[in-house]
């Protein structure tokens, strides 16, 4: 039997900030904190207080608990705290929950945590509060996943989108889609059930039109899934260009005053460096390559191969051109790669004498299938950073990410379910084209419906029968 033990974790970021919160959940939450929490007159009151109340007092060191009394407790203080008590089931986890508001600061929080652990709680596993909330039926699957994404999101935008999802924007959209699909199934089914009352004359065409709309909506959500990943994980960006084109100085320049390095991982192969930088409200995972060029050096070759692999997986390529020297074969090779990728060509050293003109590059790229912009930068004159930021926005979020309230699909499982729904609808189209009988439509419509349901954790149950009766007048 699994014991329903009491878990604890630091609920706020473990940084030096104003307030820190330590949270407990489980049957013994109250009694555990009661052991180490005393009012200013040195009383232990927590086991008698009402639910949803907050109390001022002091946390003491559990190691000396047997010696602590009303008179001497001030010698054993850890922190001055506020403690709130929320009893089951009216708490996030639907279990007894206690929150200790202590002073922020890494050291204090760690000490408080330690005291609680000593007093009988167990350290929570990552996401365990959410897991309990989910298992106790407090939140549905998509909410649970959004919470986990909140924990993992790396910047404000992702956070905003997670919060939206929690509020149910996504759930609402999915529900709308499901309802539309369900209506069609119900119509088909009522006609099958009562062929003398309800006719399917001309229906295949009507359904085809509706499916086009449904697919469009799902496609949009799927695209937002891509955006969602990019927001959460950052845009994977690879800088390419010949050696000495000014890649490194450009990188340094972008990182500049507002530099916000999150990670600094040296590549396993030489000359590949990855930096996570933040530009306004988007993040870029910058990978600097040694430069792609034809080489005989076996060591450098490995580096080039690796670079090519990065290029393949990248969301965005930054091609740095030294506009003061003529293009050569290496440049043309790179331009070839650019044709299939979202890319920004940076005409660097624009302060120097311009040998390479924008038009030459444009001509070369005129057949390319992807989004390519050309910008002029100069690290010496501090030109072009704003334009760069705008262009990235434009490319990945059509520039409107901030105003647009669209919900983001930020989870792989959601994306898969949407893809299944999309494919199922395509199968319905196929069934219509193949002139199959109408009852076959409902097979794939139903999988689309079920699949959309898995995103918000809703089952099919008796929806269909309800829908048939409420929307269509049946015979007899």
């Amino acid at each position: 039997m699994e014991r329903k033990d009491t878990i604890v974790a630091i609920a706020t970021a473990l940084t030096d900030s104003g307030i820190g919160i330590i949270r407990l959940s489980g049957e013994e939450s109250v009694s555990i904190v009661n052991r180490i929490f005393l009012t200013k007159s040195g009383k232990r009151i927590l086991s008698t207080v009402k639910s949803h109340t907050i109390h001022y007092g002091f946390l003491v060191d559990y190691n000396y608990i047997s010696e602590i009394n009303e008179d001497n407790f001030k010698n054993y203080l850890i922190d001055e705290v506020m403690v709130s008590v929320m009893k089951a089931p009216k708490s996030y986890t639907m279990e007894d929950t206690v929150e200790i508001n202590c002073h922020g600061g890494v050291l204090v929080m760690k000490k408080v945590l330690e005291a609680v652990l000593n007093a009988g709680a167990r350290m929570a596993e990552p996401g365990e509060f959410t897991k309990r909330a989910f298992l106790n039926g407090r939140i549905d699957l998509s909410q649970a996943e959004a919470v986990i994404d909140v924990i993992h999101s790396q910047n404000e935008l992702a956070l905003k989108s997670s919060v939206n999802q929690l509020k149910g924007d996504l759930a609402k959209k999915i529900r709308e889609l499901r309802e539309a699909v369900l209506y069609e199934i119900a119509f088909i089914e009522s006609a099958l059930d009562d062929p003398e009352h309800i006719s399917l004359e001309g229906y295949p065409n009507r359904l085809s039109e509706k499916i086009i709309f449904l697919k469009k909506d799902i496609k949009q959500l799927l695209e937002s899934a891509e955006n969602g990943r990019i927001i959460k994980e950052g845009i994977s960006t690879v800088i390419v260009g010949k050696p000495n084109a000014g890649k490194s100085s450009l990188l340094n320049y972008i990182l500049g005053e507002d530099r916000a390095i999150v990670t600094d991982i040296a590549g396993t192969t030489r000359d590949i460096l990855q930096e996570n930088i933040r530009l306004g409200d988007i993040s870029l995972n910058m990978i600097d390559t040694a430069g792609i060029r034809d080489t005989q050096d076996p060591v450098e070759k490995i580096g080039v191969e690796k670079a090519k692999k990065y290029v393949e997986d990248a969301d965005l390529l930054l091609y740095v051109v030294d506009s003061s020297v003529p293009l050569d074969q290496n440049d043309f090779d790179i331009l070839k790669i650019l044709q299939n990728k979202k890319s920004i060509v940076l005409m660097n050293k624009s302060d120097l004498n311009q040998v390479v003109e924008e038009k030459m590059i444009m001509d070369y790229l005129k057949d390319s299938v992807s989004d390519i912009s050309i910008l002029h930068t100069s690290t010496t004159n501090k030109e072009g950073l704003d334009a760069f930021e705008k262009t990235v926005h434009q490319m990945f979020f059509r520039g409107d990410i901030k105003q647009d309230n669209q919900m983001m699909i930020i989870n792989i499982r959601h994306k898969e379910a949407l893809q299944v729904a999309y494919d199922s609808l395509s199968l319905v189209e196929r069934t219509i084209q193949d002139d199959m009988p109408e009852d076959f439509y409902s097979i794939d419509l139903m999988s689309a419906y079920t699949s959309l349901g898995t995103i918000i954790g809703e089952e099919v149950e008796d929806d269909l029968v309800e829908e048939i009766f409420s929307k269509f007048c049946m015979g007899k």
């Binding site: 039997m1 699994e2 329903k4 309990r132 989910f134 298992l135 106790n136 039926g137 699957l141 199934i185 089914e189 099958l192 059930d193 009562d194 062929p195 003398e196 009352h197 399917l200 193949d434 002139d435 199959m436 009988p437 109408e438 009852d439 076959f440 409902s442 097979i443 954790g457 089952e459 149950e461 008796d462 269909l464 029968v465 048939i468 009766f469 007048c473 049946m474 015979g475 007899k476």
Partner: protein, 633 residues
């Protein structure tokens, strides 16, 4: 001195459920008594004069494949027959036959009377006799029944098939009578006896339209509805050639705004809208009042005039059931084209009756709390002759299996519509009389009416209701289907001149490489029949074999997908929950789920997952717990 008899099984009620239950028990060699308040009402059809229809036709086919009687009986007594949905896929083809009601009833009575081990008894059963099965135990066991006149029949199993008779009340506007359908005597005592045993009862409602004097109907204002040219029988045992005959017609007409105005103006006199009826009615066969109120945007509703039989003028007014008062009924019917001068023979009425929430039953249709007590038909909260009949058959079989010490017949949702029907009844929260619909079946592509024998007759044979000859004939059919499928898949034709010409002629694309005959049949524009000229080695096969071969080939892709889904489904059905599970020991179950599971005691995780109030999260919790449970034993 009271009469005291000893039998094996008592069947209470001789409607469509009771007849099947009684025949099943007697045919399996058990001494059986069937009780009815009136011998003249055996297998009565108190509502619509037809058998089958969408998905109900499937039920009758399945019943026939298991050895039930309804299919054979309707084949003997139908006056019009139609295969519905023939323009749609094979899964939703459904047979419906108009019955000569009195012939149907008489013919079934003859079968009962001729059945060895079966006694018909006209009496109202007013008490179930029972004892506690073990001392100091909650569990009960039945010992017999007692009739109103005091006679006692000791028995070891009972099947309750009381239909709409328990505490029945009929309403026609303000006029209320305490009778069963058609003015028959209601059963007023049994409810109390059942309640005393701890069985929960509830009240449902249904209704029926008026019957018209056919001589007063002007058919020239209606559209004639004919039967099929080639009649397909219900029973797999009926020779199709033996039932081709002259058929009676039905007639189609419509209501109009005038009809609706009269109804709206008199809603306050409808017992339902006036709140006199407490029972819950079915939404799928709403009264005309309901249709007008709920679908007010519809300008007209269809009305079908159907003959009640060949030896009567009476016509059933399908689509216009009602509980409005007599005068309103007459006025409203007379607004319908063709009915301007109609005379009503029998008024429309609503009927209320006691029934149970079938969640008190195991899927075998035995009460969880009372050993030996089974229930079937409308008493279980279903509606319809066919739904009743299949439950009667299953309950009868399982009463017999219990007495014979054999395994009960429990079919799952992937095996038959009967399985879907019973699972829905005993698992889900049904708040209205339950009717079968093809949309209730998840795997309907596999559960077709045309392959009911292939799916179920082996079971029927094992049970003992299907003869050896029939079983052997089925094996022959199966083998020839397989052989023919194989042959078509392995016989190839090349793109020679003859073939290409043939394809051009049929507007089918020409071959680039050799193709199997099966691949050609698969093309929408071709069929088994049509490719005959290309199929040199073809031998003549029975029609039903060709039908199976063609369906299996044409829809193979979909059939394979559904078969895969069935495998998934079976996994959960096979995860059995031990009967001694203590749900209080399962951590993290939500309270609602815990209560539902405790109350319900599902037999498998699959069944648990279909309970309302049990969420997918609860199921994961339960699965985890069951793993622990297993490993800790």
């Amino acid at each position: 001195m009271e009469i005291r008899e000893k039998v094996d099984v008592c069947i209470i009620g001789a409607g469509h459920a009771g007849c099947e239950a009684a025949l099943a028990c007697a045919r399996l060699g058990l001494e059986t008594v069937i009780f009815t308040v009136s011998v003249d009402s055996i297998a009565l059809m108190p509502c619509n004069p037809n058998v089958g229809g969408s998905s109900k036709g499937h039920l009758v086919r399945e019943l026939d494949a298991l050895g039930g009687e309804m299919g054979i009986n309707i084949d003997k007594t139908f006056i019009q027959s139609k295969m519905l949905n023939t323009s749609k896929g094979p899964a939703v083809h459904s047979l419906r036959a108009q019955a000569d009601k009195s012939e149907y009833s008489r013919s079934m009575r003859k079968v009962l009377e001729a059945q060895e081990h079966l006694t018909i008894k006209q009496a109202e059963v007013c008490e179930i006799l029972w004892e506690n099965s073990k001392e100091e135990s909650d569990e009960k066991k039945i010992t017999g029944v007692k009739t109103f006149t005091g006679a006692i029949y000791e028995c070891r199993a009972i099947v309750l098939c009381t239909g709409t008779y328990l505490n029945a009340r009929c309403l026609c506007g303000e006029a209320i009578t305490y009778t069963g359908p058609n003015g028959l005597q209601a059963a007023t005592h049994l409810t109390d006896s059942l309640k005393n045993m701890g069985i929960d009862l509830r009240r449902f409602k249904t209704g029926t339209p008026a019957r018209m004097d056919g001589r007063t109907i002007d058919y020239s204002k209606m559209e004639e509805q004919f039967g099929d040219e080639r009649i397909v029988p219900f029973s797999f045992t009926t020779d199709p050639d033996s039932i081709q005959k002259e058929q009676a017609s039905c007639w189609l007409t419509y209501t109009n705004e005038k009809t609706h105005d009269i109804i709206r103006a008199n809603l306050d006199r409808s017992p339902i809208y006036a709140g006199i009826i407490e029972g819950t009615g079915p939404r799928y066969c709403p009264s005309i009042e309901d249709k007008v109120v709920k679908f007010s945007e519809k300008e007209r509703h269809q009305v079908f005039l159907e003959p009640e039989g060949l030896h009567t003028h009476e016509m059933y007014v399908g689509g216009m059931s009602s509980s409005l008062p007599e005068d309103v009924q007459l006025a409203m019917y007379r607004t319908v084209p063709g009915l301007e001068n109609c005379k009503i023979v029998r008024n429309a009425y609503a009927i209320e009756y006691d029934c149970i929430n079938a969640k008190q039953l195991y899927p075998s249709l035995e009460f969880k709390k009372v050993k030996g007590l089974f229930a079937a038909g409308q008493f279980n909260g279903s509606s319809g002759y066919e739904e009743a009949a299949v439950q009667g058959l299953v309950a009868g079989i399982n009463a017999a299996m219990e007495l014979l010490g054999r395994e009960p017949l429990v079919m799952d949702r992937s095996e038959s519509y009967i399985g879907v029907l019973i699972d829905d009844l005993v698992t889900k929260d049904n708040r209205e009389p339950y009717r079968m619909m093809t949309s209730r079946s998840e795997y309907r592509l596999l559960l077709r009416q045309d392959n009911a024998d292939l799916r179920l007759s082996e079971k029927g044979f094992e049970i003992g209701l299907i003869s050896k000859e029939r079983y052997e004939a089925l094996q022959v059919k199966k083998t020839s289907i397989e052989k023919e499928m194989n042959r078509l898949k392995t016989t190839f034709v090349g793109g020679n001149k003859e073939v290409q010409e043939f394809l051009r002629l049929h507007e089918s694309s020409e071959l680039k490489t050799a193709a199997s005959l099966a691949e050609l049949i698969c093309r929408p524009e071709l069929s088994y029949e049509e490719i005959a000229p290309l199929d040199k080695e073809r031998v003549s096969l029975p029609r039903d074999v060709i039908e199976q071969v063609e369906i299996e080939i044409k829809y193979e892709g979909y059939i394979v997908r559904q078969t895969r889904q069935v495998e998934q489904y079976k996994k959960m059905e096979k995860k059995l929950i031990p009967s001694d599970i203590d749900y209080d020991q399962v951590p993290s179950l939500r309270i609602e789920a815990r209560q539902k599971l405790k109350e319900f005691q599902p037999i498998s995780v699959g069944q648990a997952s279909r309970l309302s109030g049990v969420s997918p999260a609860d199921i994961s919790v339960l699965l985890v717990y069951l793993e622990h449970f297993k490993s800790n034993r």
